[in-house]
């Protein structure tokens, strides 16, 4: 094979494999979407098949071309919604793409491959979806004979129809490989790639007939004929094609008759093509002409290989080709253009430095020599770094294959498994990514095969029938963490322990001292996992020691957590030695440090005048008030202690070490030249701090970086922040192993070393956990974290009397109108106003509650709500305001008719108006139920379970529902609700649940309800205070029947009634 073609083929293989890399995931996504076609995605897969077809066609790889073409046809039918993707179609397509990958990886042998099975399935698939009249089009070819061309052009009928459908022109284009492509510094594949952007290449062939002329030197021209379909019209297509106009012939015009009166002949070929798969008509278009000079891609004669002649052992073949796939994939690497550019720059610098070096040597200039040598030193290390960076790969490269793995296992074992992949973008060194592939496959297989139970078993266990495997990668505390978690049956520690004992891997004595967690860890013991009975008993543990060994080799750690019945979590921690991590660079005492960005929560600058307010001393510790949180503070300079002795090249001086004691972990700060040592007492420490006048001086803004260890937050006071940089982590020497505060070191842009701080280590060093101040801080923080469980209630605040602030839930408010006092009419002791042509009843709090009369002077507002189906106006006074509050609602102090309770908002007591109660008191006749109540006997049976953690909402909602004649059982959280439901399964007819609750959330409760066959049709109404679309979607996914707003009594009752009636009927 000529070098030219060889290179091209290599490029084709690399490109094609890249196209194929994510096909599986894409096909699975397409299948998931079903009839809801994601056109872009289908297009992407289509393009992959299409470009493989183009390239292989040029290279004469006919088998590849044929299979790609069939796949393309099916994909086009998916795209045009003729085929709805389902598992069957996906299987066929996956099989075809697998075969393609196999053939491409071994392109030289691809002509001997057997594609019959795949071609037939694809054909069957296409045929079964085609309309009766179209079926024959599948195997036929339309032949055009363009005016100026000697050879007929044949186009598969399916392609022609696609062009017609999409309004594409079809052109026959004559390229000259030498003048149009080689001389323009292009290659065929890049030309093809350009064309793919604007159309489709239906066929391509080297066409020697077309040259024919005697006046031309035949060896100087290698004609390539393309059949190109595009929506570009003849006027503009020339620009794209970049060939002389005379070489473009329009052979099909979607708008009318073809420009060149083609003799359209349709020749029928066998719908099931011959195993060789070479369309015969096409052979006409590619006459075999022997040309000796030009190194062209000539189609090897297609040889028919009878199936019997194929390798008997398919497995062997598959194995060898798999290997070929792997090696082909590894031989190329994608590198970002940015990085490539910086490599180029560095290479340029290196050349420059070399020139300087030669000059310096020639002149024997000692000084210049030194400078140059330093420069080369710097450039070389940067070059090395940059080259290392080219090795960084997203972990998604490994993750990509798992949807298929899971799907296949789910298919084979008849389970329903959802694979949730997160953190694909996390980058790791290429070798780590590759090394992770096997252990992860193993873990995923285990999870799918042994972890997740069959649907029926899951439902029996009260779980969602659909099992979930979560695969997640992330940076955590400077490590790359990869987790595989399933919600399957979990591991039984006793069984693992028994097996380990039986196999003599552990002594009884030792076992007795082990916790369940330790026992589960035994799964990693070499020798244990190969035991078959473990597989049978625990359903897990196969090859876990192999996984561990693999990870040990990568320098990784694996942890296992499992709870019998609820799932298993495997966590891999990889060192970041090879990883590149984005980091915040900060300075303290003129020295730079890096902190992994993953640990950084936020950056704060506290203005000098704010310092007193924001930073407080609790015990002997400083804490920062950060919104609702109290965060312990660590002064980084305290940690650094006194600058250590180091050589300062700028001054040529050796700085003195004024360190006191190594044991002095907190190296107190020194004032002035105070060199006296010894650890100071906590008192002296805080005394000194109080004396510290930094806070009052003008330039004493404080810079704080708030860090998280994953468990706790703390603030690090630094001198200044610099920027965020991607840094390459390098290990520190073994002399520093004992220092937990460093995660490593990195080399900055200027060639100097900066240390990387370990956020966990620093926290431990500062002894944050035991400081009195911060334990309180931790407590406050826990409270703050529980804060989100409280309901966020949006309230409309208004004045009643000037010093009486009242509120109504914003959800109840239809409109707010400003009115004048003269608009109010009083008749029969009831107030109304003319409003939009009707009379609007008005109520005020003082009608029923012992509150002051409304102060009309400050301007009146009418808050319009809908109560029992009628509009009612609540009178209030200006100003009005809208707040969102999580404050607790007190139901005892201010509770009275019309007032549901009180809460503290912005240090003011706010009375929460109960508008239903108010209206019922003023208009008692309104409260008559509108719809016919269920009959008395049914009513007794109608019990509603209400789960709500807020006392206020629980009593309110309970009252609503009870007033409608239901009986209500209540529970303060999801777990309790589940217990109640389980106990009163016979009488509970509907569940009304809050979403955010401790212990078990409303969604969790719903999922549990849904997975229990007793309650599969139980209506579940989700209550929210603020329902976002996202929440609603999540609720629906969990199985919530309806969403209602907490205090919208009418809607809630209506919904409850509807659902129950539907159920009774």
């Amino acid at each position: 094979m000529s070098g030219f073609e060889d290179d091209l083929q290599k490029e084709f293989v690399a490109e094609a494999l890249e196209h194929l890399a994510n096909i599986e995931a894409d096909l699975l996504t397409i299948e998931e979407g079903g009839a809801n076609i994601d056109e872009e995605l289908v297009n992407k897969v289509f393009r992959a098949a299409h470009s493989i077809k183009g390239g292989s066609s040029f290279l004469g790889l006919n088998k590849i071309k044929d299979l790609a073409h069939k796949a393309e046809t099916v994909l086009d039918m998916v795209r045009s919604r003729q085929i709805t993707p389902n598992p069957e179609t996906t299987n066929i397509l996956l099989g075809a793409f697998d075969k393609l990958r196999e053939m491409i990886a071994n392109a030289a042998e691809s002509e001997n491959a057997d594609i019959l099975e795949h071609v037939e399935s694809l054909n069957r698939l296409a045929t079964s979806y085609l309309a009766a009249g179209q079926k024959e089009s599948l195997g036929t070819t339309a032949v055009f004979l363009p005016e100026h061309e000697s050879a007929p052009v044949s186009i598969p009928e399916t392609d022609l129809q696609r062009a017609k459908r999409t309004g594409q022109f079809i052109y026959s284009v004559q390229y000259d490989l030498i003048h149009d492509i080689e001389r323009k510094n292009k290659n065929v594949l890049s030309v093809f790639n350009e064309l793919y952007d604007s159309g489709e290449i239906l066929d391509c062939a080297l066409d020697f007939e077309a040259v024919g002329g005697l006046d031309e030197d035949i060896s100087n021209k290698i004609p390539l004929r393309l059949v190109f379909a595009t929506i570009l019209d003849p006027d503009v297509v020339g620009t794209l094609l970049d060939v002389e106009a005379e070489n473009i012939t329009l052979i099909f015009d979607p708008n009318g008759a073809p420009e060149s009166p083609a003799q359209t002949a349709v020749s029928q070929i066998d719908p099931a093509p011959s195993p060789a798969g070479a369309p015969r008509v096409e052979a006409l278009a590619r006459p075999r002409v022997e040309v000796s000079a030009p190194p062209v891609a000539q189609a090897p004669p297609t040889t028919f290989v009878p199936p019997a002649a194929l390798p008997a052992n398919d497995k062997q073949e598959a194995a060898s080709t798999n290997k070929a796939v792997a090696s082909a994939a590894e031989s190329t690497l994608r590198v970002g253009v940015d990085l490539l550019e910086s490599l180029m720059n560095l290479a340029g610098e290196l050349v420059l430095s070399r020139n300087q070096l030669r000059e310096a040597v020639a002149k024997k200039d000692h000084r210049a020599l030194e400078v140059t040598s330093q420069r080369i030193n710097l450039v070389t290390s940067e070059l090395q770094d940059a080259i290392m960076q080219t090795r960084m790969q997203p972990i998604g490269n490994v993750f990509g294959k798992f949807p298929r793995v899971v799907r296949d296992i789910a298919h084979a074992t008849n389970k329903e498994i959802n694979l949730d992949i997160r953190g694909k973008e996390v980058e790791l060194d290429k070798s780590l990514v590759e090394g992770l592939s096997d252990p992860l496959t193993h873990m995923i297989r285990n999870a799918a095969d042994h972890g997740i139970e069959p649907r029926a078993e899951r439902i029996r266990a009260g779980k969602n029938g659909l099992g979930t495997i979560r695969l997640e990668a992330r940076h955590e505390a400077g490590l790359v963490v990869v987790e595989v978690a399933d919600d399957g049956k979990g591991l039984d520690p006793r069984k693992i322990a028994d097996t380990a004992l039986k196999k003599g891997l552990i002594t009884q004595d030792k076992l007795q001292r082990m916790s369940d967690k330790d026992k589960i860890g035994l799964a990693f013991l070499p020798g244990l996992s190969t035991a078959e009975q473990v597989t049978d008993l625990s359903g897990r543990g196969v090859g876990m020691d192999v996984v561990k060994t693999n990870l040990d080799r990568l320098g990784g750690k694996i942890e296992i957590e499992s709870e019998l019945g609820s799932g298993t979590l495997l966590r891999i921690k990889l060192p970041l030695t090879l990883a590149i991590i984005p980091s915040l660079v900060l300075t303290a005492r003129g020295q730079r440090f890096a902190i992994p960005q993953i640990n950084v929560v936020e950056l704060l600058r506290i203005r000098a005048e704010q310092v007193k307010k924001r930073i407080e001393v609790v015990g002997d510790a400083e804490v920062l008030k950060l919104r609702d949180e109290i965060v312990p503070l660590v002064r980084f300079v305290d940690f650094l202690g006194v600058p250590r002795s180091y050589f300062d090249p700028s001054t040529g001086q050796n700085e003195m070490c004024r360190r006191t004691s190594l044991a002095d972990r907190r190296s107190p700060r020194y004032e002035g030249g105070d060199d006296a040592g010894g650890p100071q007492t906590a008192n002296a420490w805080s005394d000194r701090r109080r004396k510290d006048d930094r806070r009052s001086s003008a330039e004493s803004d404080i810079e704080i970086v708030v860090l998280t260890t994953g468990i706790m937050k703390y603030g690090l006071v630094v001198d200044s922040f610099q920027n965020t940089e991607e840094i390459v982590v390098k290990p520190l020497g073994r002399h520093f192993k004992g220092l937990q505060e460093y995660a490593g070191a990195t080399i900055m842009g200027d060639g100097k070393v900066a240390l990387i701080l370990d956020v966990n280590g620093l926290a431990a060093l500062a002894d944050l956990r035991s400081l009195s101040g911060s334990s309180r801080a931790m407590q406050l923080q826990t409270e703050a974290e529980n804060e989100h469980l409280k309901d966020l209630l949006a309230l409309l605040l208004f004045q009643n009397a000037p010093d009486e602030v009242c509120a109504v839930p914003l959800d109840m408010v239809l409109r707010i109108e400003r009115i004048g006092g003269d608009q109010i009419e009083t008749a029969g002791g009831r107030r109304t106003m003319q409003y939009r042509g009707v009379s609007l009843p008005l109520v005020t709090l003082s009608d029923v509650s012992r509150v002051k009369q409304i102060d009309e002077k400050s301007g009146l507002v009418v808050i319009v709500s809908n109560v029992h189906g009628s509009e009612v106006g609540l009178l209030g006074a200006m100003p009005v305001d809208v707040v969102e509050s999580k404050s607790a609602i007190d139901q005892s102090i201010h509770r009275q008719p019309g007032i549901a309770g009180s809460m503290i908002i912005r240090d003011t007591t706010v009375l929460l108006t109960d508008i239903y109660e108010l209206v019922s008191a003023v208009y008692p006749e309104w409260g008559v139920p509108r719809a016919a109540m269920p009959t008395a006997e049914k009513q007794v049976a109608l019990t509603v379970l209400l789960a709500e953690d807020s006392d206020f909402f629980r009593t309110q909602v309970k009252r609503f529902i009870e007033e409608e004649g239901f009986s209500v059982l209540t529970a303060p959280d999801g777990e309790a609700a589940w217990e109640v439901l389980d106990k009163y399964a016979d009488i509970v007819r509907a569940v009304v649940t809050d979403i955010e609750m401790p212990r078990l959330s409303g969604l969790g409760l719903t999922r549990r309800i849904r997975s229990d066959p007793r309650f599969s049709s139980m209506p579940v109404i989700g209550l929210t205070s603020l329902a976002g679309d996202q929440d609603i979607a999540a609720g629906q996914a969990a199985g919530i029947t309806d969403y209602q707003i907490k205090l919208d009594r009418d809607k809630l009752i209506e919904s409850l009634r509807d659902l129950l009636q539907a159920r009774l009927a």
Binding site: R644, S645, Y646, C657, R665, G733, H735, F736
Partner: protein
């Protein structure tokens, strides 16, 4: 450069000599990867004080030891002529900061004598032996002892 490679000739040994204050020391050149000028050294806080810090050695992080402090002779003065001897140890580069580097000399192994009593007392564990040149007595350092991690060092510091 190396005429008498110690590995070729068991009897001969090429020793690089250098000074810490007035004291002269020698190190088998076979252990020395290179000698570099003093560049930026990043201090590592809270590390034992004989560890000066880390430096960038062509993209690798090298630990720099103050040999004077390590040998309990007091801090090494860093001057114009100061150099760092880079040793490779278990795949890791470790630099020894010395005051200045003198010649590399070839000695006969047979000429190495046990350290005198007084040397043994102070830096005994770091010194393999001594040998004499025309001008002075040179203490031959035991590389592995110098590069060893300091177990219990902090307690005696």
């Amino acid at each position: 450069m190396i005429e008498n490679d110690s590995r070729d000739n068991e009897q001969q040994m090429l020793v690089s000599t250098f000074f810490l204050g007035e004291a002269a020391f020698g190190l088998d050149t076979a252990y020395i990867q290179e000698v570099v000028r003093v560049a930026d050294i990043t201090p590592v806080h809270r590390a034992p004080s004989y560890l000066l810090g880390v430096m960038n050695l062509r993209g690798r992080i090298a630990t720099v030891i103050d040999l004077g402090l390590k040998l309990e002779l007091g801090r090494t003065e860093i001057r114009e002529n100061s150099r760092i001897l880079i040793l490779e140890c278990e795949g890791e580069q470790i630099g020894l900061m010395v005051e200045y580097v003198a010649d590399a000399i070839s000695i006969d192994r047979a000429d190495i004598k046990p350290s005198p009593e007084n040397v043994r007392r102070v830096q005994g564990r770091y010194v393999k032996g001594v040998f004499e040149t025309e001008e002075r007595l040179i203490a031959l350092l035991d590389t592995s002892a110098v590069l060893a991690m300091e177990d219990g060092q902090e307690a005696t510091w």
